[in-house]
């Protein structure tokens, strides 16, 4: 299928919310103040694991200005983003399971009073042994149990077997087995969690404003915790100051604001301090991985055996999803005929892990791309050649049933290699300088409803009239990634008008039509399908009117650049606005409603619970790809790694807004570089976080920015709306292994745990030196 000539899709246009943001006039939740609004604060546990013996808040209530105090008993219903494993509560009930868990919340006339009241709440704890390591947690499960219903301290474990890996390994020429460990990192979005709840007692209606990326799931979870029907709750998103997965489930701020507001009949706002963002975490799962890869004599992958222990922290969260994703992600972007994955997600007394940009892909990608780098050396070819040999092609169906309708992954590899001069540099640079290559991919447009339902995942309503013009309604969440702008571009493209003339109403469960949320890189694809569907209905109706005005058959009309014209006689034309005017005068406001449901693949049956193993990401209609090549200088004196240059080439299908894609890719690169080199949340022996601030938790600043050269490779997925794929999670995948491979090329040391700090580099260099002198001495 030929790529159509688009006019609105493919334009690098500024964000539709840009002007408000540069003026400082975009309203974020914490900017809002309502009449009679009270301020909420949460009292947090100083213990990582303890029984709550008693909470006495009588003194807090006596403090002038304090309006109400709640504890876990005020809203004890369990919530969770995955209903089957829901085990979180708004505030701890009976026991705390991590340092910083909320035990009580206060509403007061101002923040200062609320804070002072927290000190007056007396909580009596009986400390329990603290489990911080997943291996220890499993070993000591008989003696210390974190959740009563998880006797082995395991949330869930799974095994997936495809083909016969054992037989395949026996026949392999090259087999490598290694262990990798990833670190405990946080999203560090700039805007802390914040929620404003306004409960209207007479009508029983709750209005929520919240910094969330999942308005629908927040809506559902509020309904569960508050025991209110969803139609009595409205969730509205003001501007969102970044999320990266960390706002991909409800937060206790939401529940505490809502419960307090209902209790006092006044609006209540709860905004976290930065330390609370860290304490409530939901960042990336540290993974303890064993991977074994087998290649035949020609370097083709024959089998992978993957064992992963995920350190989940205290509660379930997105855990089971992340766990199965790690298992599923080994099946691409290379052809893997035989594979086994054994995975388990373990409870520990840490702030809970959850969803984070590139969920479930980043960890196995680190292991796999590093190992293939080493195995190329075993085979005696370049890592590039090995990866090209094994790379998937359009139409590939993995043994785990992942179907790749279209891919330009090989073009990504080629482009990055050519632009960086990888082949001329790899293995040939002086000691201390290195270059590393890695690839990656991510799902695009996928998602199950996390509760079992087959309803469409996105609905878009487009309204056309002479008064409001064109308005796209969808309850999608623009968390900064720019989906509102992209939706406007796609709607304009399909309607034949300009993106500047499209209004977008999103992020509201009442004025927006249904959407599952911004996660799993689903929105451009999903809303694209729904927009096409809705616009087609509008175009059909307008064409019938325009036909009479132009004087030709409706099915011979085209719409472009704000005009209807005959495709055979383009001079026969009429302005789009005039057609709308005639239509609305005769009929009234015109609407079209479009839906997106991910394709149902054979063998997946949610309602009866039958699943094809490995099909967790099987619903993904397409996949985005990326290749990165990193060049590093390792300072042999200080151990510091300086990144000189990053060359990236990505397949995001047709870029709807290339400037926005560049922003996603560059942002992904720096985001993942933080995890590779700097970031790690640290706990002391008692489980208290010792670096819960942006002073001690180091995210990359502009000073760490290397030269970045990105390429959007020419791509168009004919099965996708406008040919699109994801662009915001694929490019985080190759970063960590590409850096690790570059460091290996520089100093010959393979780092298998993160972050690669100067201390680790110096230690490794010392060990290497000792080994060398030992060898030369013998």
């Amino acid at each position: 299928m030929n790529k159509p000539n688009y006019t609105q899709v493919g334009r690098s246009v500024p964000r539709i919310d840009g002007p408000l943001k540069v003026k400082g006039e975009a309203i974020y939740t914490d900017d809002m103040v309502l009449p009679r609004m009270a301020y909420g604060k949460i009292k947090r546990s100083p213990y990582a694991h303890a029984i709550i013996k008693k909470i006495d808040y009588s003194k807090a209530l006596e403090l002038p200005g304090v309006i109400a105090v709640i504890t876990g008993e005020d809203g004890p219903n369990k919530w969770g983003i995955v209903p089957q494993t829901a085990n979180e509560v708004a505030l701890a009930v009976g026991k705390v399971r991590f340092w910083g868990e909320g035990v009580a919340a206060v509403a007061a006339i101002d923040e200062e009073t609320a804070e002072a009241a927290l000190d007056l709440i007396e909580v009596e704890y009986e400390p329990l042994p603290v489990l911080l390591d997943p291996q220890e947690s499993m070993q000591r499960a008989n003696e210390v149990r974190i959740h009563e219903d998880a006797p082995e301290n395991i949330l869930h474990a799974g095994e997936q077997l495809f083909g016969d890996p054992d037989k395949a390994f026996a026949e392999c020429t090259y087999v490598l087995e290694k262990e990798f460990h990833t670190s405990y990192v946080n999203h560090a979005f700039l805007e802390p969690h914040t929620a404003l709840a306004s409960f209207d007692t007479p009508s029983g209606q709750l209005q929520m404003w919240s910094s969330t990326q999942v308005p629908h799931y927040l809506h559902r979870q509020l309904s569960i915790v508050l025991e209110m029907p969803m139609n009595k709750i409205r969730v509205t998103l003001p501007a969102i100051g970044g999320a990266f997965g960390g706002k991909g489930e409800a937060s206790p701020a939401d529940f505490c604001a809502a419960l307090l507001s209902r209790k006092i009949g006044r609006p209540v706002k709860v905004t976290y301090e930065r330390s609370e963002v860290f304490a409530t975490n939901k960042g990336r799962h540290p993974c303890h991985m064993k991977m074994k890869i087998g290649l035949d004599q020609d370097g083709y992958i024959q089998a992978i055996d993957f064992d992963n222990t995920l350190d989940g922290g205290a509660y379930a969260g997105w855990g089971i999803v992340v766990m199965f994703y790690t298992a599923s992600m080994i099946h691409l972007p290379y052809k893997v005929p035989n594979a086994r994955a054994r995975v388990r997600r373990v409870y520990t007394n840490k702030p809970t892990c959850g969803a984070m940009r590139g969920l479930g892909g980043v960890q196995p990608r680190y292991a796999m791309e590093c190992m293939l780098d080493e195995m190329a050396e075993m085979v005696g070819i370049s890592p590039y050649e090995l990866k090209m040999k094994n790379a998937v092609e359009s139409g590939y169906l993995s043994v785990s049933n992942l179907h790749v309708p279209h891919t330009e992954y090989k073009k990504c590899l080629q482009t990055a290699v050519e632009k960086s001069g990888y082949l001329e540099k790899h293995g040939k640079l002086p000691f201390g300088k290195g270059i590393g290559l890695a690839g990656g991919y991510y799902i695009s447009g996928t998602a199950y409803t996390l509760y079992q339902a087959y309803k469409p995942h996105t609905t878009v309503l487009i309204r056309v009239d002479t008064e409001g013009g064109v308005t796209v309604h969808c309850a999608a969440a623009d968390i900064g990634q720019g989906c509102n702008t992209v939706m406007a571009q796609m709607a304009a493209e399909e309607l034949g008008i300009r993106y500047e003339d499209v209004h977008v109403v999103s992020g509201d469960t009442e004025t927006g039509t249904f959407d599952l949320g911004s996660f799993a890189s689903r929105l451009t694809y999903a809303s694209g399908v729904a927009i096409k569907d809705a616009a087609a209905q509008i175009n059909q109706k307008l064409k019938e009117v325009a036909a009479g005005m132009v004087g030709c058959r409706a099915d011979q009309l085209e719409i472009k650049d704000g005009r209807f014209y005959s495709k055979f006689e383009p001079k026969k034309a009429i302005e789009w606005e005039k057609v709308v005017d005639v239509y609305t005068n005769a009929v009234g406001t015109l609407v079209g409603i479009g839906h997106f449901s991910p394709p149902r693949l054979k063998g997946i049956d949610l309602t009866r619970g039958k699943r094809v193993q490995g099909a967790n990401i099987g619903h993904s209609p397409t996949f985005g790809f990326s290749c990165q090549i990193w060049e590093v200088d390792v300072d042999l004196e200080t151990g510091k790694i300086r990144v000189a240059k990053v060359t990236e080439a990505g397949d995001c299908g047709q870029a709807v807004n290339p400037m926005s894609v560049d922003g996603q890719v560059e942002g992904s690169i720096m985001f993942a570089m933080g995890q590779a080199l700097y970031e790690e949340m640290r706990l002391d022996a008692e489980g208290k976080m010792i670096n819960a601030s942006l002073h001690d938790y180091k995210v990359p600043t502009a000073m760490e920015l290397p030269e970045i050269d990105t390429t959007i490779v020419d791509s168009y997925d004919p099965t996708a709306p406008f040919g699109v794929k994801e662009s915001g999670e694929g490019p985080v995948q190759p970063t960590i292994p590409a850096i690790t491979n570059a460091v290996y090329d520089a100093i010959g040391v393979r780092f298998t745990d993160l972050p690669i700090t100067p201390e680790k580099v110096l230690r490794a260099l010392k060990e290497k030196q000792a080994l060398n002198s030992e060898c030369s001495g013998s």
Partner: protein, 160 residues
């Protein structure tokens, strides 16, 4: 304990009774309704609360309001003039230097200070100038591109 301070905010002289332990950030956001100044960490680490005090960028969460007595403060709300965007704002918008927008006000004020004192900054000078403003979305590239193009424009026009 309260104290009355006099300061000029975005060109307007204000007399405000503040608590002695209130920060400038709190006074701007809560007393003056200038919520374009953001609170990201309250520890002077993220730069989201950057304002210009007597022309210099400060983390307003680290400045006690009483220390702003007699000073001139510019917040993001004071950057656009007569309803039209300042060239820095316009360029940030055009170049994709914004995603979630939470760092944007502080980043723009830091940029304003940089370009006011150095119309032709090198890449290194740009990076250093904005190194106190964390942006977690963009990876800084498009922000730096915006600043670089502003510097070029400024030079082409012979400085503004």
């Amino acid at each position: 304990m309260e104290k009355t301070i006099n300061l000029t905010v975005n060109g307007e002289t204000r007399s405000i009774a503040v608590d002695v332990n209130q920060t400038l950030l709190e006074v701007l956001r809560e007393d003056l309704g200038l919520t374009g100044t953001k609170k990201g960490c309250n520890q002077g680490e993220c730069g989201a609360c950057t304002v210009l005090m007597d022309g210099k960028p400060v983390s307003s969460c680290l400045v006690l309001a009483v220390k702003a007595d007699g000073k001139t403060v510019m917040t993001i709300e004071g950057v656009a003039k007569d309803g039209s965007l300042h060239p820095i704002q316009e360029t940030f918008n055009q170049k994709g230097a914004i995603q979630c927008g939470f760092c944007t006000p502080g980043m723009i004020l830091t940029t304003k200070n940089l370009l006011d004192k150095n119309p032709n900054p090198s890449l290194g000078e740009i990076k250093e100038a904005i190194s106190g403003n964390i942006c977690r979305c963009t990876g800084y590239v498009q922000i730096i591109e915006a600043i670089t193009s502003l510097a070029k424009e400024k030079n082409a026009r012979g400085g503004v």
